[in-house]
Amino acid sequence: MKLGKMLKAGAFALALGVAATGTAIGTASAQTLTVGVRGGPESMDPHYSALGVHADAMKHIFDTLVWSGDNLQIEPGLAESWKPLDDTTWEFKLRKGVKFHDGSDFTAEDVKFSIERIPVVTGPTTLLIYVRRVKEVVIIDPHTVHMKTDGPAATLPNDFVRLFIVSHKAAKDFSTKETAPDGFNSGKATVGTGPYKFVSWEPKGDLVLERFDGYWRGKGAWEKVVRKEMPNDSSRLAALKAGQVDLVNYVSSADWQALKRDPKIDTFLADSVYVMNLQLDQREQTPKVYDIDGKPLAKNPLRDPKVREALDLAIDRQTMVDVVLEGLGTPNNQLMPKGFFGWSAKVPERKPDPAKGKKLLAEAGFPNGFQMDLYCTSDRLPGDGAICQGLGQMFAQIGVKTNVNAISRSVYFPAQAKKEYSIFMNGWGTLTGEASYTLGSMAHSPAPELKLGAFNRIEYSNPKVDELLQAAGKELDDAKRKALYEQAMDLIMADRAYISIVTLQTVWAADKGKLKMAPRNDEDTLAYFITPAK
């Protein structure tokens, strides 16, 4: 009986067209924005996780001192301005008149409380990396704080884009490892200054939010926001087409071309922060490269610049984008997406030339090529496994027999950290939008004492690059720092120990004419910045 009614309702709605289907079956209405997201938060405690999907959800409820704009440029947030006072002190001037959801005022006390709370409550995907430079927070007056750092920290404002401010009053009793999850997940401590108030959340389920009318940027367009976690790309898109949700993120490259032609759907495209990088082990001995018959080699051929260039010349980046990613990416020649702070226009464009690659290999002493095991993640970023197989095809063209291993990230990263691979590819996201984060981790020689080179898993070492990066890290003048990073980038890319292939792009899809949005580089889907089309 119920079923029959429902089917009738469905058929009726179908007759009225897609717009009506939304109201008949889904929960959508003019004032509610229902978003199907691929990944959701891990907790309602903003300090628990540093994951992008976590921050995406948290930005609805909480604010940060420093705001990261659509293109990751840093802008004033809860802090109106900031400046370095000396080598180890940054001054932050806080915004006045900002209210928390419970009506209390936002002050310096909340900033100090939030920063000091992080080391206590953070989970394994730790936020510590964003506040580890801060030694002490000194309150000067209710709207001025001084951050004492452990040395010159030129990029401290960039580190703060994921530093969420919680209310020190509401969160006071919920700031130990045991009490924090219960306090925040129940909503008792989930009091922020953000555009939306917390209503309810279930892990891997729905996050329901209600508009906060006293928001300092002015109140948002949607009265209610529901973020439904739908990890399967096809199911998420099907939910959009069936009218269950108004907007979905991460449209897969497989669906994008067809969606662009769909008259009932609007799509929004942005460059992501992720670049796919091939990484070539630079140690004297390397485990996974062999001669053409599979026997071990006396020395690591990847240390030969000619071999590295040959591999680079084998890669047809345009085909990678056009075929493997079906257009959802752009060819790239360096470790960061175009336009980021430290991106260099001087790095030459990379064009495929397999014939020349073959010649270089012969000159390097491999006229018949060699054999290697290529490792990549297959479940971390869109297209990673497919790009990996594409690389295998392309390397075969210059006579390098490639055994492709596209594997789960839960196997890949532990082994990669133990340096078990010789040649491997994974994506790297320049989450802060500037070079110190990316180049400092990947391109500096491993130097734990300087907190540099932590992710340099190929032991790449160029003294000149190290020098430039160290100088840039201490340079507080933006223009000079930028020039130093660009120089470093030129050198790194010329060495070809890191071979960048493509920048991934991200697509959102929405019901036609439903809404307007400026797609963000950091892939966030922020309801406050999405407005109804009418």
Partner: protein
């Protein structure tokens, strides 16, 4: 003509009466043949990355690729000829099904028969473990084992064997308990024959009929289980796609109308499993003594 004086002859005579089962058996035989001969008849070696071209990727059935031949069933996202990929995929599926089924049969039957013959503490222990495992869903066990062992054919077969041997052990135990009470076993035990000889030469062969029935079902189950694990991303490596992997890789293209990447491997998989199950069904009906009273 068929010699109905031997058990096999009588069996075949019965089998022939069911045309559906005969057709299914023919289909199974054809698929096994095709799977064995895949490297000879497939237009392309789908595992040789050097022989693929990305420019041929996701072409619909009938497309003439850069290799100069027609891709009868289209190509996948890496430019693989789907027909070749399916033939090789069938090869993997059949291989894994037979291997996992065979090893599980060997281990399970030995355990079951030994337990039945030995009795006492061995019997209790073995059958308790088997019963417990039987109630535990095979998919979950296989899932955890594959996560534990990692990717690869050997690991997958190990996981499937571990998940399935219990069915054989239970069946063999049941048959052997009934069998050992019979006079000839009592008589054999009384002779100076070694115990192992009694178990494996006398007891086991007489437990075979029900085991064969379970084996057909379990081979089909192994194949389906492998496909499911691959679908969940825990199966074989992507560079050597099994049928399950092909289906799962192709599914992302279903919404955009490129159905062939997922549908044809799916059809191949279903035909294979249905055919095996149909044969198994007939065998079961024929070997079930209670239906021939």
């Amino acid at each position: 003509m068929i010699d109905t004086s031997t058990p096999l002859g009588r069996f075949w005579a019965g089998f022939r009466e069911n045309p559906v089962a005969v057709a299914a058996l023919t289909m199974v035989a054809a698929i096994v043949l095709v799977a064995v001969a895949a490297p000879l008849i497939a237009p392309q070696d789908p595992y040789d990355l050097g022989g693929l071209s990305l420019l041929d990727a996701r072409r619909p059935p009938g497309h003439v690729g850069s290799g100069g031949y027609v891709h009868l069933l289209g190509t996948d996202a890496q430019g693989r000829d789907l027909l070749s990929a399916i033939l090789y995929g069938l090869r993997i599926s059949v291989q894994i099904g037979l291997l996992a089924g065979g090893v599980a049969l060997a281990i399970g039957a030995s355990l079951g028969v030994t337990a039945a013959y030995a009795g006492g503490i061995v019997e209790t222990l073995v059958m308790r473990i088997v019963d417990l495992q039987l109630s535990f869903p095979a998919i979950l066990l296989a899932l955890v084992l594959v996560a534990l062992l990692g990717q690869g054919k050997a690991q997958l077969v190990t996981a499937l064997v571990a998940a399935q041997y219990a069915y054989f052990a239970r069946t063999a135990y049941g048959a052997a308990t009934a069998e050992r009470r019979k006079d000839y076993i009592e008589a054999a035990t009384a002779t100076p024959l070694s115990r192992a000889r009694v178990v494996f030469r006398h007891l086991l062969p007489n437990c075979m009929p029900p085991l064969i029935v379970v084996a057909t079902v379990q081979i089909a189950n192994s194949i389906a289980l492998e496909a499911t694990l691959s679908f969940l991303g825990l199966g074989l490596p992507v560079t050597e796609p099994s049928l399950g992997m092909l289906i799962s890789n192709g599914f992302v293209y279903m919404m955009s109308g490129r159905y062939w990447i997922s549908v044809y491997p799916g059809v191949a998989l279903i035909v294979l499993i249905v055919a095996i199950n149909l044969v198994g069904d007939q065998v079961r009906d024929q070997l079930n003594p209670r239906l021939h009273r």
